[in-house]
């Protein structure tokens, strides 16, 4: 998924550590030390529910609708408010195992991995009291495939039988999603898909109430979402705050809704103010991370350093170039931009909180392979520009957002581009504005972005951001990249049954895309988080992010 701010998915869970991802920061406890995995072993959680967890953000959430939320800011709240057929185990082991959620048990998989059959729970209710049945699940999944929803992860669902016909309007329903009475659901795929359970476990796979969605239309997203999860939406005042409270009718019972009485997200709070609020006890977490200005001093502070955590993230920061907008339609120009960027300077700007990369896949993602097609060489960059017909460079607009270090890093990139004659004027906009803009065809020529794993499968770094199916309005395929040859190869890898062979071939796909150079990979981030002294039970999951039900105020 894309970043929304400096806050991103953490990664490097135990699974990835075992896979040799080289994570140095797979710690989730308050000690912040490497290799200690798990929540605080300290005070015990209180009985009952009390206290409010305050979390600060620079910008409001982009979406509350599970059909649209696809960034690291809204992500944890989707897991808090909605249920999916299956979920990740969210305890301190953090080993990415699945557990049944809306389904009674894990699915029965038959037909060579192409058919998934679920038995559904009979005691799940929406917050409005309506009982959830198989029809609701079918509607929820078809909604993701419906192009009108503009779901960012819709491309993951196109492998379902009948999805294409439904999406193109030739069918009223997706034939591959079948209700088996009120309490059964069957999903048929065109081909086996090793990551399909991961897809179902994404927030897009949450069950929603059709009547409520249709009743509220556009305002459903901001203000009238209807879920079934541990927490329910109490209020959302746009650009001010959002408040969640435990769902008293949660199917898992009161114990499963944790120890917090309220979870409040406050918006319009800069990182600097957020850190001050944490230090003063007015806030518990800052979703946008620790500001670069204070990072060194906080890290060296004996009191606060104990409340810091760092994770080597399964993500990549990069510069996407819109392949539909001149001059970035020319591959020579895109390669020139690749040669022009000194990435180590950028990592230095963020206090070393990152590792330079030249590939799309992060080192900690299975299927990663190292190569460097475009080592830093400004002379070569100028030569390529000349070859492309731009001997004196060109002018363009570099879009960025106002969150965290993005503007600073973008200024540095603009400066580096000026060194090869590319005069980019910087356009700084709100994070949500940038998200909407990059999803609009031919609007953003070049920008600064990031992608983080939705799940630990390398297809996650290609299908949503480089496939032809993802180059649609609302996309996160910021380069609007579409190469049918690359697409065919990516699809071949996706359905390959032999996992070891599959993973060995992903570096070739990575290289194929990078030869087209739709992006400039910059660095893989190391995320540093900090929490208040009052917050206990801090737990961060590599996919679901903050696990609120594990936390309490002490």
């Amino acid at each position: 998924m894309p970043k929304h701010s400096l806050r991103t998915l953490a990664s490097c869970v135990l699974l990835l550590v075992l896979a040799g991802c080289g994570a140095s920061g797979g710690s989730y406890g308050s000690s912040g030390s490497a290799n200690s995995v798990g929540a605080n072993s300290g005070p015990k959680a209180p009985a009952g529910q009390s206290g409010t967890l305050y979390m600060d953000w620079t910008n409001d959430l982009s979406h509350l609708d599970t059909g649209k939320c696809y960034d690291t800011e809204c992500w944890p709240y989707m897991y808090a408010m909605f249920d999916r057929l299956i979920d990740y185990k969210t305890d301190s082991t953090n080993d990415d195992q699945f557990v049944p959620d809306g389904a009674v048990a894990m699915p029965t998989v038959t037909n060579g991995g192409k058919t998934y059959t679920f038995r559904l729970r009979r005691n799940i209710h929406f917050w409005n009291g309506k009982l959830v049945t198989s029809a609701d699940w079918k509607y929820s999944f078809e909604r993701i495939i419906n192009p009108k929803t503009q779901a960012g992860a819709a491309s993951f669902w196109t492998e379902i039988v009948g999805a294409s016909a439904y999406a193109s309007g030739k069918a009223k329903h997706v034939s591959g999603i079948q209700t088996l009475g009120k309490w059964g659901l069957r999903i048929k795929l065109l081909n086996p898909d090793a990551s399909f359970l991961n897809v179902l476990a994404m927030p897009f796979g949450s069950v929603v109430d059709q009547a409520v969605v249709q009743k509220y239309g556009r305002s459903y997203d901001c203000c009238h979402v209807m879920g079934t999860g541990r927490y329910m939406l109490k209020e959302h005042i746009i650009n001010q705050r959002m408040v969640l409270v435990p769902n008293p009718h949660y199917w898992g019972g009161k114990a499963a809704t944790g120890h917090l009485k309220t979870i409040e997200a406050d918006f319009g709070i800069s990182e600097d103010t957020g850190l001050l609020r944490i230090e003063r006890g007015s806030a518990d977490l800052d979703g946008d991370g620790i500001p670069a200005a204070d990072f060194v001093s906080v890290r060296n502070d004996p009191k606060w350093s104990k409340l810091m955590f760092h994770y080597t993230e399964v993500g990549t920061y990069y510069i996407p170039m819109n392949t539909l907008m001149k001059p970035f339609t020319n591959v020579l120009v895109r390669r020139a931009i690749n040669y022009a960027i000194n990435k180590s300077i950028i990592v230095r700007l963020i206090n070393g909180r990152g590792v330079v990369t030249n590939t799309i896949l992060p080192p900690s993602m299975p299927g990663h392979g190292s190569f460097n097609l475009y080592p830093y060489n400004p002379a070569k960059a100028r030569q390529l520009l000349k070859q492309a017909g731009y001997p004196h460079g060109f002018s363009t607009t570099f879009w960025t957002d106002n969150v965290g270090d993005d503007s600073r890093i973008s200024q540095n990139i603009v400066q580096q581009l000026a060194g090869i004659g590319v005069h980019a004027s910087l356009k700084v906009v709100n994070g949500n504005t940038l998200t909407a803009a990059v999803g609009t065809k031919r609007k953003v020529p070049i920008t600064f972005e990031a992608w983080f794993q939705d799940f630990p499968d390398p297809n996650d770094f290609f299908e949503p951001i480089f496939s032809c199916a993802s180059a649609v309005p609302g996309t996160f395929n910021e380069p609007w990249y579409c190469d049918p040859k690359v697409d065919r190869y990516a699809n071949q890898l996706k359905v390959m049954q032999n996992r070891a062979q599959r993973l060995r071939l992903y570096p070739r796909l990575d290289k194929m895309v990078m030869q087209d150079a739709p992006i400039v990979p910059l660095y893989n981030p190391v995320f540093w988080d900090i929490h208040s002294t009052a917050l206990k039970g801090y737990l961060y999951h590599n996919v679901e992010e903050w696990i609120f039900q594990h936390m309490w105020k002490g």
């Binding site: 200005a293 204070d294 700007l349 206090n351 400066q415 700084v428």
Partner: protein, 310 residues
């Protein structure tokens, strides 16, 4: 008839000299002597002179290009550098020389101060003078428009206008001019109301001068001193407004340095690296102080009634 008008003016001047006593020396000598005597005004004038010279000669005075991000401009942990022998005022969060950015930032302030203020003056004088001279429904409409514009919270209105257009130096100049003509309009309105009853205006009408000619060639020259004073005082205001707009991120856009956006970029670093905010802040304070002191002195000097009463 024209000779009679000229004679009227000469008579007026003779009467004034008889009343006030004929001063010694040329006008400029008298002005300079007055400036030297007033230490505060002299201080202000020197600051303004320094500001203008720095703005004009910034490329010669600045040790580095203000946009260059030096790799040795950051510590090994990526933090800005404190003032040192190489970077006299230190560096910012991107490793750029603060002194160079400060000097170039004066250019933005000067450009905005002069152009925005000048444009505001033109609008204000036109509106105020026209309203006062025309009278009737024209005056009512124009002065009510002035009142409405004055009722808006200026900074919020500026933010809204910039949000509709887009942040750029040109738009900042236009927005500031649109919002700051009102005070001038009211002052000019009052003065023209009084002046248009004077005999020389009657004489101008008598010789057949049109309304436009009377207003702009006979009345407005008498307001030159007032316009100069309020233009000078207005520069201070526009420098502050530009800094405020840049501080909230909708003024001059990076990487172009302006004192306001330098403070904006520095606000995260106020604890760890306070010099990033200190120097542009001092620059703004000194510049505003200089223009205010100079403006006060000009008002005292060029307004004959006020200066004699003093």
């Amino acid at each position: 008839m024209q000779q009679q008008v000229a004679n009227t003016f000469a008579l007026e001047e003779m009467a004034r000299d008889e009343l006030l006593g004929e001063p010694e020396g040329s006008v400029w000598q008298r002005v300079l002597a007055s400036l030297v005597r007033d230490k505060a005004a002299l201080f202000g004038a020197l600051i303004v002179l320094a500001f203008v010279l720095v703005a004009i000669f910034a490329p010669l005075l600045a040790p580095f290009n203000p946009d260059t991000e030096f790799t040795n401009g950051l510590s090994v942990t990526g933090a800005p550098l404190a003032p040192n022998h190489h970077f006299v005022l230190g560096t910012d969060d991107l490793g750029r020389d603060l002194l160079s950015r400060l000097l170039y930032g004066a250019r933005v302030s000067l450009i905005v101060g002069l152009l925005a203020n000048g444009l505001a003056m033109i609008i204000g004088v036109t509106v105020g003078a026209t309203a006062a001279y025309a009278g009737g429904w024209v005056a009512t409409v124009l002065m009510r428009l002035t009142d409405i514009m004055m009722a808006f919270p200026v900074l919020l209105f500026a933010i809204a206008l910039i949000a509709i257009t887009s942040p750029s130096l040109t738009n900042i100049i236009i927005v500031i001019a649109i919002l700051y003509w009102t005070t001038t309009a009211r002052i000019i309105y009052g003065m023209v109301l009084s002046l248009k009853e004077r005999e020389f205006v009657e004489a101008a009408h008598a010789i057949g001068a049109s309304g436009f000619r009377t207003l702009f060639f006979y009345i407005l020259p008498h307001l030159t001193s007032v316009i100069i004073v309020y233009t000078t005082l207005g520069v201070a205001t526009t420098v502050l407004v530009e800094a405020a707009l840049s501080f909230v991120g909708i003024g001059v856009q990076p990487p172009t340095p302006s004192w306001g956006n330098m403070i904006n970029e520095a606000q995260s670093y106020y604890r760890a690296d306070p010099w990033m905010m200190l120097f542009p802040g001092i620059a703004i304070v000194l510049t505003v102080l200089g223009f205010n002191l100079l403006g006060d002195w000009l008002r005292d000097t060029l307004d004959p009634v006020h200066s004699q009463l003093g």
